[in-house]
C-alpha cells in the first residue's frame, strides 16, 4: 500500500499526462481536418455565441454612447448656456449621420447582392481576430441556417473578405483572405496576369501576396487586383491593390504584396455566396472579349 502523499503525486501525474494527451489529440485532429467540429464543440458554441453576440452589441452601444458623451463634454466647456441645445443637436446629427452611414452601407450591400448573379445571404460579424496569430472572423446569419458550408466565399461591397472555414449552427468562422491558409484565384486586369492570393505569413497587419504570377506579365505598384471567377467567388470582385513588387531573379515568378480593399478591422455586415457562380458563356467572350459575361463589371 502506497502512502497517501505518494498516491496523490501519482494521481496528479496521471491527470497532467492525460491533459497533455488530450491537447495533442486535439492538435492532431485539427491538422487532419480543420473544419471538423465535434458535438461537444457545437454544444459549447451554441451556448457561447448568443453571449458573444450580445456582448458585441453592448460594446458597440457603449462605444456609441461614449462618443456622444465626449462630444457633450466638449460643448459644455465652450458654452454652458448653449450646452443642452447644442448637445441635443449634435446628438441628433451624430444619430442622423450614423443612420445615413448605415443606410449607405446597407444600400451598397443590397447593390452588391443584386449585382451578384448567385444566391447570397447576409450575415453580421460578431468577432474578428480574437487571437492575433490567426486571421479569423466569426459571423452570425440572420436567416438561412443550414445553407452555408465550408469553402463558401464571403464578400462585401468593398471586396473579398475570405471563405467559411467552420460552421456551427447559425455561426461560422471565416478564414480571412489575409490568413496564410487562404488561397484565392485572382487576376490583374491591366496585364491579364493570374495568380493565387495568400495571406502573408508573419505579418501583423492585414497584408497578402500573390504567388505564381509569371515574370513576363510585369505588374507594378498600384495595379488593381480582382477575382478571376474561379473557386466560387464572383468574377471581377475587387481584392486590393499592389503595394510592393519583388522580382524573383532565380525563378519565373514575381512576389507581389497586396493591400486589401476591405478594412477588416471595421467589418460589420458581409454577404455569404451560397451557390456556385454559373460558368461563363464561352460564346460571349468571342463577341465581347473585354466584358465579363456575368459577375461584377460595375465594380471594376
Amino acid at each position: 500500500m502506497l502512502p497517501s502523499g505518494h498516491r496523490q503525486k501519482i494521481r496528479e501525474a496521471v491527470i497532467i499526462t492525460a491533459a497533455f494527451l488530450t491537447a495533442l489529440f486535439l492538435l492532431r485532429q485539427s491538422a487532419k481536418s480543420p473544419e471538423y467540429l465535434s458535438p461537444l464543440d457545437r454544444g459549447i458554441l451554441a451556448l457561447v455565441t448568443p453571449l458573444q453576440s450580445r456582448m458585441a452589441r453592448l460594446a458597440r452601444s457603449i462605444g456609441h454612447a461614449a462618443g456622444q458623451y465626449v462630444d457633450l463634454v466638449h460643448v459644455r466647456a465652450e458654452n454652458e448656456a448653449l450646452h443642452n441645445e447644442n448637445g441635443r443637436l449634435r446628438a441628433e446629427l451624430l444619430e442622423a449621420k450614423r443612420g445615413a452611414a448605415e443606410s449607405v452601407r446597407f444600400q451598397r450591400l443590397l447593390g452588391l447582392r443584386n449585382a451578384v448573379t448567385t444566391e447570397t445571404l447576409v450575415a453580421r460579424v460578431i468577432a474578428i481576430d480574437v487571437s492575433p496569430y490567426f486571421r479569423v472572423a466569426r459571423i452570425q446569419l440572420d436567416r438561412g441556417e443550414g445553407l452555408v458550408s465550408r469553402g463558401m466565399p464571403i464578400i462585401t461591397p468593398d471586396g473579398v473578405v475570405g471563405r467559411i472555414n467552420r460552421v456551427a449552427g447559425d455561426t461560422s468562422d471565416i478564414l480571412l483572405s489575409v490568413d496564410p491558409r487562404s488561397a484565392i484565384d485572382v487576376v490583374l486586369p491591366r496585364t491579364g496576369g493570374r495568380g493565387i492570393l495568400r495571406g502573408k505569413p508573419g505579418e501583423n497587419g492585414y497584408r497578402c501576396a500573390i504567388e505564381y504570377l509569371m515574370q513576363g506579365e510585369q505588374a507594378k505598384e498600384g495595379d488593381l487586383v480582382v477575382t478571376s471567377g474561379l473557386g466560387g467567388f464572383p468574377r471581377d470582385l475587387p481584392v486590393g491593390k499592389i503595394s510592393k513588387v519583388a522580382r524573383n531573379a532565380v525563378g519565373m515568378s514575381q512576389e507581389l504584396e497586396v493591400s486589401p480593399d476591405v478594412d477588416f478591422a471595421r467589418l460589420s455586415e458581409v454577404l455569404v455566396v451560397v451557390a456556385p457562380t454559373p460558368p461563363a458563356d464561352p460564346e460571349a467572350s468571342a463577341h465581347k472579349p473585354l466584358v465579363p459575361s456575368h459577375g461584377l463589371g460595375v465594380y471594376r
Partner: protein, 184 residues
Amino acid sequence: MRSVATLIVGLLLLLLQSTVMEFAPVHLVTPTLGLLTVLYIGLSPLKWAPGSAALVGLSLGYLFDLVSGAPRGVHAFVFLVMALFARALASRLAVRGVVLKASAAFVASLLSALLIVVVRAQVSPETGYGGLRMAPIEALLTAVFGPPVLWLLSRLDGRLDPALLRVGLSRRRARALGSGLPPR
C-alpha cells in the same frame, strides 16, 4: 465548484477579449485576459493542485480555440503548458505585489505568444513562424491588466475556498478569525 466558477470567469474574460476589446478605437492588439486566469491558477499552488491547474488550463485553452476560431488544440496546449509554467514559477518565486504580478503577466504573455506561433506552425505549416512583432505590445497590455485581473480572481477564489466552505465560514468571517489577536 471552484473549478467551474473559475472556468466561467475565464470564459467571460475570453468573451470580453473577443468582443469589447475588438471594438476599442485602436484596433491593434488585445491583452490576453484568458491567459491571466491560467496564470492566476498556476501562481496559487496552495489553493490549486497541479492536476486541477492543468485541467483548467486545458479547458480554458480549448474554449479560447472555439471562441477565437483558431485550430482546436493550439491554445489548449499552450494554456496547459502556461499553467504548469506558472506553477513552476510560483514554487521558486513568491509572486507578490503589483510589479512582480505585472512582470509575471508580461513574461507569460510573451512566452505564450512564442508557443502559439510554434504550435501553429506545426498544425498549419503554411502560416510559418512569423507574427511575433506585436507580441511585446500584447505582453505590455497583458501586464497592465494583470494585477487587477489577478486581484479579482483572488477575491473570487477566496470566497469559494473549499476549506472555508466546508466549515461554513465566509471569507469575511475567516479573515476576522485569522487576523485577530491570540485568545487571552
